[in-house]
Each structure stands twice: as structure tokens, then as C-alpha cells.
Amino acid sequence: MATMAQAIRMALHYGETNLGLKDVFGQDVGAPLGGVFTATQGVDCSWNTPLDERGIIGMAMGIAMAGDRCVAEIQFADYIFNTMDQLKLAGNTYWATNGQCSLPMVVMTPVGAGIRGSIYHSHSFDSWASRLAGWKVVMPSTPLDAYGLLLSAIVDPNPVLFLKPKALMRVRGDEMIPGEPENEKELRSMIDAPIGDRTTWKARWPKVKEHFIPIGKARITRSGSQVTVISSGRHLLLCNEVADQLASEGHSIEVIDLRSIYPYDWQTMKASIQKTGKVLFVNEDTEVTNFGEHLCYRAVNELFYQLMARPRVLAGKHLPGIGLHANLEDASVPQKHEIEQNLRELLAEVP
């Protein structure tokens, strides 16, 4: 099974060989490193940029304007903030030109805590991103989803932000990417750059196949009837774990992986909340004007009389940063035990 980093690499390779992807670029994205999380290693059209985020986003906009497809990387979402008005602009260009000038471009960036990344390698961006009208925003929780969502992002005619949960970059899934070798070691020997001199190294790509995961479609990862929990990325996996644990005690939790932050799959969420009457939204971006609050607001607004408990949002604390010490980080972003506690409260709540 591929890791998420390997899955992203294979998607980029598939993109450059089959989908007209011309440029993959960002800081340390090209040889020899292939990205700080190795997600671009071996990709032929990858290259290193100056250390200039605004240059990177501007370049991506220009390439898209010229009609070529590109994937640009911001090394950490923590450093995307100085590009905010360019992101706004990329999102509004098609609209501002009354449908004349589309910008099909992908920006990918690692997000979230979970690797003890301290104040500047732990930021989330999903709530910020949800306010960028004109963009599509996706966040995978598994390598296969990363592969399929990235292929969809590459061919999408709109700007797409691909948020990579950095804590999952080396995590394997339990589904094969179509065409990847069965043996992990074999895959590694084919597409992981060697330690040491890489000057003559080239990836030997497996014959990976087309696998599009439509943007805007969520996935039910655990079916259940008593409570719905909705999340994405790293926290989705924690929700799965808690749901499994509670299932072993006889409880029934439905877990929904959003996969797309915007456009989002309201129909899947709605059907589930109507069934369970109870819902918890989990994400690690900060809690004030959090995207989960928007979904919660919508659940209250549209499903008020079907709710059997007050809906909850479990999000990152409204803090200026995430401190390095484990005590600090764990107190700042949702932990597994908090997900469990919220779900137990919801299970126990009687109207």
C-alpha cells in the first residue's frame, strides 16, 4: 500500500503523462529533494522556485491564464497567508471577467498539527479556504482519496486548493491505487529517491490508472444509526477509530468524510443527520467562525425539528498558535478522547 506522499507522487505522474499537467513547482519541490514531504519526488515536470510564495501563486495564475495546467505547492500552509489576496483574486478572476478568463490551477499545501510542528508548522487552512469564493477546496484522508482527488483537481477548470494533512503523509491506507504494485517494498524501490547521490536517479513509475474522485462528494466511512460525525483529513481517521471503539461497545456511529470542503456534499450530510438526529462536526482549524460552524448552522436551520440533541462543533482552540510541547499542542487541537467524549454525550442525550 502506498503512503499518501507516494499516492500524490503517482497522481502527479499520472497527470503529467495523461492529463496535460505541465508544471509542478514550489520551494524544494524539484530534484534533489522532491518536496519536504517527498510528495513530488521523481515527477518529471517538477521544479524548484525562489523562496517566494507570492511569486509561486502569481506564476500559477499566469500559467493557468496562458492555458497550461499546473500544480503549485506552498511548502506549509503556515506560509500561505501572504498570498491571501492572490488567492482571492484567483478565485474571483472568472467571475470578475464575466466568465471570460478561467484559471484552472491547483495549489497544494500541507496543513494541520499532529507532527509537533510548533507555532509555524501546525496551521490549518480549511476554514480560511472556505471563504475563498471561486475556489474548490479538497482534503483527503486516505492515499487513494489523495490520488483520486488530485486527478480531479488537475482536470478541473477552476482553481482547486488541495489540502494535505501533513500528519498523514507517511500513513498508508487500506485500498490500493489502481496499478500500484502489491508489494510495498517494490513500490518504494521504484519511486522513492535513494539516500545520497540522486543525480542520475529516475523514478520507475508503476502503470497507475485513471481514478477520479469527484470533487463535492463525501464518503460514508462507517455506517451507523445513532450519531453522525462529520470530519475530514487527519481527524477523520480519529473519528473512524472512535466509531470502531464505540461500535465494539454496541453503539452505532455514522462517520462521514467530507473530502471536499467546498463545494460540500450537503445531501449526504443531511440524509445522515435526518436518520440519526444527532451530529458532531470535527476539524482542527480554530473555532471562531469555523467552517464546522457553518455546517452546524445549516443543520440547525434546515433540520431543527429533526434534531434529537444540540449539534456540536469540536474544533481547534481560538489561540494565536499551537505550542510545541505536547501538552500545549494537545490542549490546542481536538484529541481523540475529546471526540469520544462528545460522541458519548450525544449518545446519552435525550430530548
Binding site: 466568465g99 478568463c101 478561467s102 463545494p263 445549516r298
Partner: protein, 388 residues
């Protein structure tokens, strides 16, 4: 050629060298003075005798038909801008911003750009003072007026954006946007794609002097000049010595903006953008250099700002600024390329056209309220969460 241009008296005097006293006076006013028009104009002092080189050098050898075409476009653009200001004054538009006074620089740019759509043609990343460039490329007056009056028929934005914020994909004219300087790194992107395509197209970017303080300007210099990865990009700055109400000395330490390009090994020059001939020859030479070498080049053009910053500062005529069109027309009459009567006829023709266009555009439909949801995503894929 470049010697001739650089030895032009107006070009030799950098804005900082000669206008110290006047701009120091202006900058003692610590409060932003929104009546920029009423401030002492540094250039009227810095270049009192700045005669167009066209007067003294037989128009650089440019042929009469081209000179007449340039004059014609300059008049058309000036008349159009002045009509737009009148439309604003009549309360028929919310805002005006444009480029009267920049015609001598901007018209040649429009004439020289390789016009068309796609990588083989030139991309233009302009700012909000580039009406003359668009006029030279074939902009219809009514299309500028539609943008000004935010009609649904406005081909650039459908009534969504300010005057001067053009977008013409059929001519590779990238959308003009409000955030200052953002076009500079974007231009690197189109130039990068053009370099890959190798079909001779280049990218051209323009903006004002004050905007060069933004990091995006530095980004452009960095990305365009990387060794072995140079971009076919013509980087231009129109230096009118003002950023709204802040004078040049208020925000620059460098003698010439063009010097900044030199630090990156980018070939660069300062020209008198009030002279259409000098502008034409400089643009022609730099475009040819870029097409031949695939490398960037930089032009700082010294220009006038004839009606102040925008309608926000009154859009009143500023006496004392060099009027490039007046000077050029005079030189054309002196040379016998035009008579006073034939020149007058050109002005009248365009004035009548502008009035007729405004009258017609006034009756055209406004954008509808429902249309706010149009074109958020490509092909009108739904972007309204209420309908997810």
C-alpha cells in the same frame, strides 16, 4: 539608438535628481492630501524645457503613415478618456480612473504588441491607466463606455468592475485588477508558458511608480532573471511621480526605478514617455531584443498624469503637466504631416463618436440581480451552498 534616447534631456534627468525641492515641499504635508491635483507638480519644475525628441529629431525616421496612426490613436484615446470623465461628472458612473497623459507611451505599446490569442501572441498585463494601449489595439469606444457605465454589455466585466479594468482574452489582454502590482508575478507565469511554447510570444507588464514598493515587483525581477531560466518579459513602469497623493521622493530611495532591474542583470533604460517616437523606438527595440534572446528587459517611462489620480481626487485637469499629445500634434503640424484643420477634424470626429457611443450605451441593459451567481465556477456549475 539607445544612446539617442538616453541622451534626450528629459530622460537624463531622473525624477529624484531634479525635483527635490518641489517634492520635499509636497511631502511636508504629513496628512494625505486627497486633492493631489492641486499640489505643486514636480515635473513642471523638473523638466521645464523638456521638448519632445520628435520635435528635434525628425521623428526618429518613423514613416508618416505610422506617425499619423499614432496621432490618431492618441486623440481617440484622449477624447474617450475625457468623455468618460464627463460621464462621471454627469452622475452616470460611479468612478473613473484612466490614462490621459500617458498616450505617447501607451499607444506605441498597443501598436507594437503582437496581437492575438494564445501563446504565439503577446500577453499584456496592464494596469488601470492603459486605455491608450487598448485603443491602439482596436478597442471600440463603446466598449470602454460600457465598462464605465457598468452595463451588462460591457465585454470586459459585464458591469462588475471599474473603468479601465479591461479584459480581452481575444487579444491576450489579462484582466486588469485593483490590487496594485499583482500583475507582475502573474506576467511571469504567462512568459514561462510562452518560453516553453517557443512560438515567439512575449509577455508585457505595466504598472505605476508607487506600486514598485510592493513585494510583487521584486518577485517579478527575481523570477524573470534566474540564470538560465530567464523569461521573455518586458517589464515596464510608468513613472508619473505620484502614487495618489504621495510624491516620488516620499517613497523612493533609489535614483531610478530602472536601476533596480540592473541589480538582476536585466537590461534596463529610462525613457521620456511623453514622446511617442522615443517610446515607439524604445519599445520596438526592447521587444525585438526579448524575442531574439528570450530574456527580460525593463523600461521606465516618465509620463504625465493629466487629470490627477482618479475621480476620487476630482479628475480635474492639472495645469503644468507636459501634455504629450499637444506637443506631438504641434510637431506634426510644424513638420507638415498635419494641418491645424486636419488635426481639428480628427478631434471632432472622435468627439462626435464618443457622444454617440455614450448615448447608445446609456440605453443598454444593466446586469440583473440574479446574475451575481453567474460565472463563479466554470460553465456555471453551481457555487451557491444553498443549492448543494
Amino acid at each position: 539608438m539607445s544612446n539617442r534616447i538616453l541622451s534626450n534631456p528629459a530622460s537624463k534627468n531622473g525624477p529624484t535628481k531634479s525635483n527635490k525641492s518641489s517634492s520635499a515641499r509636497a511631502s511636508t504635508n504629513s496628512k494625505p492630501n486627497l486633492k493631489a491635483n492641486s499640489m505643486p507638480n514636480p515635473k513642471s519644475i523638473s523638466k521645464p524645457n523638456a521638448k519632445s525628441s520628435s520635435v528635434i529629431n525628425s521623428f526618429g525616421g518613423l514613416d508618416k503613415a505610422l506617425l499619423l496612426q499614432m496621432h490618431d490613436c492618441m486623440v481617440k484615446s484622449r477624447v474617450l478618456e475625457e468623455r468618460l470623465i464627463k460621464i462621471f461628472r454627469a452622475g452616470e458612473a460611479y468612478f473613473w480612473i484612466g490614462g490621459p497623459g500617458e498616450e505617447a507611451w501607451a499607444v506605441p505599446m498597443g501598436l507594437l504588441a503582437k496581437k492575438g490569442q494564445g501563446l504565439a501572441y503577446d500577453f499584456l498585463h496592464l494596469h488601470y491607466r492603459c486605455t491608450p494601449t487598448l485603443v491602439a489595439m482596436g478597442l471600440e469606444m463603446s466598449d470602454a463606455i460600457r465598462l464605465m457605465m457598468n452595463r451588462a454589455t460591457d465585454p470586459s466585466t459585464g458591469g462588475r468592475n471599474f473603468s479601465g479594468h479591461y479584459c480581452f482574452p481575444k487579444w491576450n489582454v489579462a484582466p486588469v485588477t485593483s490590487p496594485i502590482e499583482i500583475q507582475y508575478p502573474v506576467a511571469c507565469g504567462t512568459a514561462h508558458a510562452q518560453k516553453r511554447a517557443g512560438q515567439g510570444g512575449i509577455s508585457i507588464v505595466s504598472g505605476g511608480d508607487a506600486g514598485t514598493a510592493e513585494g510583487d515587483f521584486a518577485s517579478c525581477l527575481v523570477w524573470a532573471s534566474r540564470k538560465g531560466q530567464e523569461l521573455p518579459l518586458l517589464i515596464t513602469v510608468q513613472n508619473n511621480l505620484w502614487g495618489i497623493s504621495t510624491c516620488y521622493d516620499g517613497q523612493h530611495g533609489e535614483s531610478q526605478i530602472a536601476d533596480r532591474a540592473k541589480a538582476f542583470g536585466i537590461r534596463s533604460r529610462v525613457i521620456n514617455g511623453n514622446d511617442p517616437v522615443e517610446s515607439y523606438l524604445a519599445l520596438q527595440e526592447e521587444m525585438a531584443y526579448i524575442r531574439k534572446t528570450g530574456k527580460p528587459s525593463f523600461i521606465e517611462a516618465q509620463v504625465s498624469r493629466l487629470y490627477g489620480h482618479s475621480s476620487g481626487t476630482g479628475a480635474n485637469f492639472v495645469p503644468g503637466e507636459i501634455d504629450c499629445l499637444k506637443d506631438f500634434e504641434k510637431a506634426m503640424v510644424t513638420a507638415g504631416h498635419l494641418t491645424e484643420t486636419s488635426a481639428r477634424e480628427i478631434w471632432t470626429k472622435y468627439e462626435e463618436e464618443a457622444v454617440a457611443c455614450a448615448n447608445a450605451v446609456r440605453t443598454e441593459p444593466a446586469p440583473t440581480a440574479e446574475s451575481v451567481w453567474d460565472h463563479i465556477y466554470f460553465n456555471n456549475e453551481n457555487a451557491d451552498w444553498r443549492k448543494f
